[in-house]
C-alpha cells in the first residue's frame, strides 16, 4: 500500500537512522512511502516561536502541494513536524488567518488539506491489532523497554488526536506486539528540553537527566523514542545530562522503528544502529544478535 510521506529535515542529518529504520520497517510491513516532492522545512519550533503566520505559511506550502496531488493522508515520523503541520491545518480553518497566510504564499493555499498523522499511527492502522506479531522473527522478550513519546506527540489533545494526552499507549502496543517487556514509564510524555540544548544547555541537560535517571532506576534496557530531537537529547547529549545530574548513565536510546526492526529480523545496518552514541550492542547481545558494524565506539562505557 502506498503512503505519502513527509520526512522532515532531520531525516537528512541527525536522525538519518530514524529515517533508515522507518523506511525499512515500513517496507517490511508492505507500506510504500513516497515523499512529497519538493517538500520544505515546516519551520519547527523557531518559526512558531517567532510568528504563527510564518510557521503556518511554511507548513501550508507542503500541505498545499500534497493536496494538489490529491493526497488525503500524509505520514510523518517527526512529532515536531506533525505538531506544526496539524496546527497549521487547524489554524487555516479560520478565514482571517488563512487570508494573512495566503499573502505570504506564491498562490493561495488549497481549500482542503490532507490529514497528517504520525508514522506510528500509520503503522498501527496499516497492520491492525494482530498484524505486527505476524512479522516478528525474533521476539524482544528479553528486553525491558521504556517507551518515551516526548511532549509533542499527544499534546494538545484537541490538535494531535493521539489518545489520552497523559497516557498514550500506542507505542506500548507496538512494542508489546514485538514481544518486549514494556515498562509503564511515568515520564513518557515529559519534555526532554527540546531545542534548548544549544541556547540553554543546563535546562535540556537536567530535563533529559530526569528521564534517563528514571529509566535507569526502573531497570530499563533502553529508552525507546519517537522524536529526532528527543533521541538526540537523550543519546548524543547523554554525557551532558549525566554531568548535570552528577550521575552515570549507560542507557541506549532507540527509535521505536529500530526496536521493531530488530524484532522483524532486519539487520542492525538496515536500522542505522551504528549511529547511536550509546551503543546498542548490549541489547543485541541479549537478543543473541551480532553487534552493529561500527557500533562499538562507546559500547558499555558509561556517560558521566
Amino acid at each position: 500500500m502506498n503512503y505519502t510521506y513527509y520526512p522532515g529535515c532531520s531525516a537528512g542529518g541527525s536522525s538519518a537512522d530514524y529515517e533508515k529504520s522507518t523506511r525499512a520497517v515500513c517496507a517490511a510491513l508492505g507500506m510504500t512511502l513516497a515523499d512529497i516532492p519538493d517538500w520544505n522545512c515546516c519551520g519547527s519550533t523557531p518559526a512558531h516561536a517567532v510568528d504563527t503566520e510564518l510557521s503556518a505559511a511554511l507548513c501550508s506550502r507542503n500541505l498545499d502541494m500534497a493536496a494538489r496531488q490529491g493526497v488525503r493522508k500524509l505520514l510523518t515520523p517527526c512529532p515536531s513536524c506533525l505538531s506544526n503541520l496539524r496546527h497549521a491545518a487547524k489554524r487555516m480553518e479560520n478565514p482571517q488567518f488563512r487570508a494573512r497566510v495566503d499573502e505570504l504564499l506564491d498562490n493561495p493555499a488549497a481549500p482542503e488539506f490532507p490529514d497528517v498523522t504520525s508514522v506510528m499511527q500509520g503503522i498501527a492502522a496499516h497492520c491492525g491489532a494482530n498484524g505486527i506479531a505476524a512479522h516478528v522473527r525474533g521476539s524482544l522478550s528479553r528486553l525491558t523497554l521504556a517507551p518515551y513519546y516526548g511532549c509533542l506527540m499527544s499534546r494538545p489533545p484537541e490538535v494531535m488526536d493521539f489518545g489520552d494526552p497523559e497516557n498514550p499507549l500506542l507505542m506500548e502496543n507496538l512494542l508489546a506486539a514485538c514481544g518486549a517487556n514494556v515498562l509503564n514509564f511515568p515520564l513518557k510524555t515529559a519534555c526532554c528540553g527540546a531545542s534548548y540544548g544549544i541556547p540553554e544547555r543546563r535546562m535540556t541537560a537536567r530535563l533529559s537527566a530526569r528521564i534517563l535517571q528514571l529509566a535507569t532506576d526502573m531497570k530499563a534496557d533502553a529508552v525507546v523514542a519517537a522524536c529526532p530531537l528527543c533521541q538526540m537529547n537523550l543519546d548524543l547529549r547523554q554525557p551532558q545530562a549525566a554531568k548535570a545530574a552528577g550521575a552515570r548513565f549507560v542507557m541506549p536510546v532507540l527509535y521505536f522503528t529500530q526496536a521493531m526492526g530488530l524484532a522483524f529480523g532486519l539487520s542492525p545496518d538496515m536500522l542505522g544502529l551504528e549511529k547511536l552514541r550509546v551503543s546498542a550492542d548490549a541489547l543485541l547481545r541479549k537478543l543473541e544478535l551480532p553487534p552493529a558494524p561500527q557500533g562499538s565506539a562507546e559500547g558499555g562505557k558509561p556517560c558521566e
Binding site: 511515568p186 515520564l187 528514571l214 535507569t216
Partner: protein, 652 residues
C-alpha cells in the same frame, strides 16, 4: 366582574426597569378592571392592607397582583384576598420580576411585556370561579432513605416525636461514611464511639423499622399518602435466625473477597459482618465471591452456623410501606478520581484516597490501626496530602468545594504524627476552608503543634521514582517556586458527588438534582430541607457538601418538618384539579392510563364507562386534560377556554 390590579414596584427590583405606574394605568382599560394601583411593596403589611381596603371600598370580586414569582408570594396574597372576604382562588398573579424586570434592561419593552402579562392574568381571572379545598387523611409514618448519620438523626428524632419510622439502608449496616472514620474533627474523638450509641438506639427503638440491604423500587402517591415499594436484596442469611456470632466468617474459605467497608484496602470473606459495631449485626453473603453460589460447592457456612440461618436459595423480595412523608438522606460517594492520570489514575498502590487512609488509621481497619503502605506494608516516613482532587476543578466538571476536606486533612496530618512520631507530613492546599466552630484553631494546631508542612499550591503530577518512593511535583506559590517532594505515601482528598443511584432515586421521588447528582432544595436559603415535591424532605450530604455537625442538624431539621406535617390530622388539597364533563366523556380510559398519580378512576354511569377524578389524589398536573381526545377533562383554573383567553389577550 369587578377586578382590582396591583402592580408592585418591589422597591427598585421591578420599578428599576418597568414603569409600574404606566402598567397600572394601562390595566384600567382592560375588561372588568375597575381599580388599579402601583404600591411600593405589595407583600408588606401596608401593601396587603391596601388590597383588603380596595376590595371592600370598590366592591372587588377578583384581584390580580403583578409582582414576583408565585412560588414566592402566591400563598401570601391568597390569604390576603381571603381576609378581605373573597374566595382565595379568585386571585391571579403576573410574574413581572423574574420574567421581566430581572432579565431585561429595556424599560419600554419591559413595560409593554409587564402590561401584557397583566392583561393575560385579567383574562384568566374573568373565567375563574370560587373553589373549595377538600381535606384528606394523613398516614402518620415517615420513610427515611439512607442510614448515615443524617438519616439516623432524623429517624431518632421522628421516633422520639411519636412518629413511626421506616429506615431503608442500601448497605448491610447503617452508619454510612461516618462509621468508616477513625476520629472526627475538631475534637479528635473516636467516630465509632460517638456514632455507635445512636446506631444501637436505632436498632432498639420500638418505633423504627429498619430494612438494611434494601433499596427503593417504586414510589407512588403524594404528600400524606405515599406508597413505597422496597426491594429487600437477598442476603442468603435468615436474619431472624442469625445471632451475629461471626462463626461463618471465620470458617469461610473465600478469603479474598474485596472489602467495600474498608474501601478495598483489605480483603474479607464472602460471608461477613462488615465491622464489629454493625447494625444490624447480621451476616451477609457476597454472591459474586461465594463458592456455593458461584460454583455450587462449599456450603461451609451453612454447616458451621449454629442457628441454621444460611439460606442459599434466598431471593430478593419486596415490601410495600404506606407513609405520609419521605426524608432522603442518601449521602455521598467519592468521585472517580482515576481520571487523574497525572496522579497515576489508580495504578500506584501507595497513592490512596483519604477515606482509604482513614481505614488504615482505624483500629477496626485492615491493618489494625497501623499506618502501612499498601505496596509493601512499610510504615511511611513522608506522607504527602493533596487537597482538592476533584473539587474546585472545572477541567473535570467539578467546580464545587467539597467542604470538609480541609478539616479531615488537618486531622489526618495530626493523627499521622500521633501514630508515627518520626514521620513528616506535607499538605498541598489552595485555600484553607475552616469556618466551623473551633475549626480554624484545629487546622492551625496541625501546623503549630504537629509540624505539618502546609504548602500553598496544587500538585501537577505524582510518579514512582523506580526505587520505591513517589515524586510529588508541586508548586509553592507563596515561595514562587516549583517544589518537589519524595514521598512514601500520597493521600488524595478526593472530591465528593451524590451517592451512586441518587439521580435514579430523585426521579422516583419527582425531585430535581444538579450536575453532580446533589438533590435540589426548594429554596437555597429559606427552604433548605424542603424539595419542590410536597412531603419529600432532605437531610445531609445528599443536598450538598456538609460535615457531621451540619448533617446532624439537618437530620433534625428534616425530622421537625415531618413532625410539623403530622401535627395536623388532615391535609387540604389544592382544588385546582381536573374535572370530567360526563356528557363528553366516551370512556376511552386514556386519562386513567396517563395519570402519574393514579388519580383517575374508571366508573360506570347508567351502564357506560366514564372517568372519575379522585380530587384529593389529583395533583393538578394537567396530563389527563391534554390527553383527552374529547376535551372532556378540564383542569380547574387552567381550562381550555382560559388558556385561549390568555392567548387572545396576548395576540390582540
Amino acid at each position: 366582574m369587578r377586578i382590582g390590579v396591583f402592580v408592585c414596584h418591589c422597591g427598585s427590583n421591578i420599578a428599576g426597569t418597568v414603569n409600574c405606574a404606566e402598567v397600572a394605568e394601562l390595566a384600567k382599560s382592560f375588561p372588568d378592571v375597575v381599580y388599579a394601583d402601583d404600591p411600593m411593596y405589595t407583600c408588606a403589611e401596608p401593601g396587603q392592607a391596601a388590597i383588603e381596603a380596595a376590595v371592600r371600598e370598590h366592591g372587588l370580586d377578583g384581584v390580580v397582583v403583578a409582582s414576583c414569582s408565585p412560588r414566592m408570594h402566591e400563598t401570601t396574597f391568597r390569604r390576603t384576598v381571603e381576609r378581605a372576604g373573597l374566595n382565595r382562588y379568585m386571585f391571579e398573579m403576573a410574574n413581572i420580576r423574574e420574567h421581566v424586570s430581572w432579565i431585561g434592561k429595556d424599560r419600554e419593552a419591559n413595560t409593554n411585556k409587564a402590561a401584557e402579562l397583566v392583561e393575560m392574568a385579567v383574562a384568566k381571572l374573568r373565567r375563574d370561579r370560587p373553589l373549595t379545598a377538600k381535606t384528606f387523611d394523613v398516614v402518620k409514618r415517615v420513610l427515611i432513605v439512607g442510614g448515615g448519620v443524617a438519616g439516623i438523626q432524623a429517624a431518632l428524632d421522628c421516633a422520639e416525636g411519636g412518629v413511626p419510622v421506616v429506615l431503608v439502608e442500601r448497605e448491610s449496616t447503617i452508619g454510612g461514611k461516618m462509621a468508616k472514620l477513625d476520629k472526627t474533627f475538631p475534637t479528635v474523638d473516636c467516630s465509632a464511639c460517638i456514632l455507635g450509641p445512636k446506631m444501637v438506639d436505632v436498632a432498639q427503638h420500638p418505633g423504627i423499622t429498619l430494612y438494611a440491604c434494601s433499596e427503593i423500587e417504586e414510589v407512588s402517591g403524594y404528600v400524606g399518602n405515599f406508597s413505597v415499594k422496597i426491594r429487600r436484596r437477598a442476603t442468603y442469611v435468615d436474619w431472624k435466625k442469625c445471632t451475629g456470632c461471626g462463626m461463618c466468617g471465620e470458617k469461610c474459605p473465600s478469603k479474598k473477597t474485596p472489602d467495600a467497608f474498608n474501601e478495598f484496602t483489605g480483603a474479607t470473606t464472602a460471608i461477613n459482618i462488615p465491622f464489629p459495631q454493625a447494625i444490624p449485626k447480621k451476616a451477609v453473603i457476597n454472591a459474586r465471591h461465594c463458592r456455593q453460589l458461584t460454583k455450587g460447592k462449599c456450603g461451609v457456612c451453612a454447616k458451621v452456623c449454629p442457628s441454621g440461618a444460611v439460606d442459599y436459595a434466598m431471593r430478593d423480595n419486596f415490601v410495600t410501606e404506606e407513609v405520609g412523608c419521605i426524608i432522603a438522606a442518601t449521602g455521598y460517594d467519592l468521585m472517580d478520581w482515576t481520571i487523574y492520570r497525572e496522579y497515576g489514575g489508580g495504578a500506584y498502590p501507595d497513592v490512596i484516597t483519604a477515606l482509604q487512609y482513614e481505614r488504615l488509621l482505624s483500629a477496626s481497619g485492615p491493618t489494625g490501626g497501623r499506618i502501612a503502605r499498601p505496596s509493601d506494608g512499610r510504615e511511611p516516613q513522608t506522607v504527602v496530602f493533596i487537597q482538592c482532587v476533584g473539587s474546585r476543578d472545572n477541567s473535570v466538571g467539578r467546580p464545587h468545594c467539597s467542604g470538609f476536606c480541609c478539616m479531615y486533612t488537618a486531622k489526618q496530618a495530626i493523627l499521622t504524627k500521633d501514630h508515627l512520631p518520626l514521620s513528616h507530613s506535607y499538605v498541598f492546599y489552595m485555600d484553607i476552608r475552616a469556618p466551623g466552630k473551633m475549626y480554624d484553631e484545629f487546622s492551625r494546631r496541625a501546623v503549630e503543634e504537629y509540624g505539618a508542612e502546609y504548602i500553598r499550591g496544587r500538585v501537577s503530577a505524582v510518579y514512582p521514582d523506580g526505587l520505591g518512593q513517589y515524586v510529588v511535583m508541586g508548586a509553592d506559590t507563596l515561595l514562587g517556586e516549583p517544589v518537589e517532594i519524595k514521598a512514601d505515601m500520597v493521600v488524595l482528598a478526593v472530591g465528593i458527588e451524590a451517592a451512586k443511584g441518587a439521580s435514579a432515586l430523585a426521579e422516583k421521588l419527582c425531585i430535581s438534582y444538579d450536575n453532580c447528582g446533589f438533590f435540589m432544595e426548594s429554596h437555597v436559603k429559606l427552604k433548605p430541607v424542603e424539595t419542590t415535591t410536597a412531603g419529600v424532605f432532605l437531610a445531609g450530604v445528599c443536598q450538598g457538601a456538609k460535615d457531621i455537625p451540619t448533617s446532624v442538624a439537618q437530620g433534625s431539621a428534616a425530622a421537625a418538618k415531618a413532625l410539623g406535617l403530622f401535627a395536623r390530622d388532615k391535609l387540604e388539597n389544592d382544588p385546582q384539579t381536573a374535572q370530567v364533563d360526563i356528557r363528553r366523556c366516551v370512556g376511552c380510559g386514556k386519562c386513567v392510563r396517563c395519570c402519574p398519580f393514579g388519580a383517575v378512576a374508571e366508573t360506570e354511569i347508567r351502564g357506560e364507562k366514564k372517568a372519575q377524578i379522585i380530587e384529593t389524589v389529583c395533583q393538578g398536573c394537567g396530563l389527563c386534560a391534554s390527553t383527552c381526545p374529547q376535551g372532556a377533562v378540564q383542569l380547574a383554573h387552567s381550562t381550555d377556554n382560559q388558556i385561549l383567553a390568555e392567548v387572545n389577550a396576548l395576540c390582540r
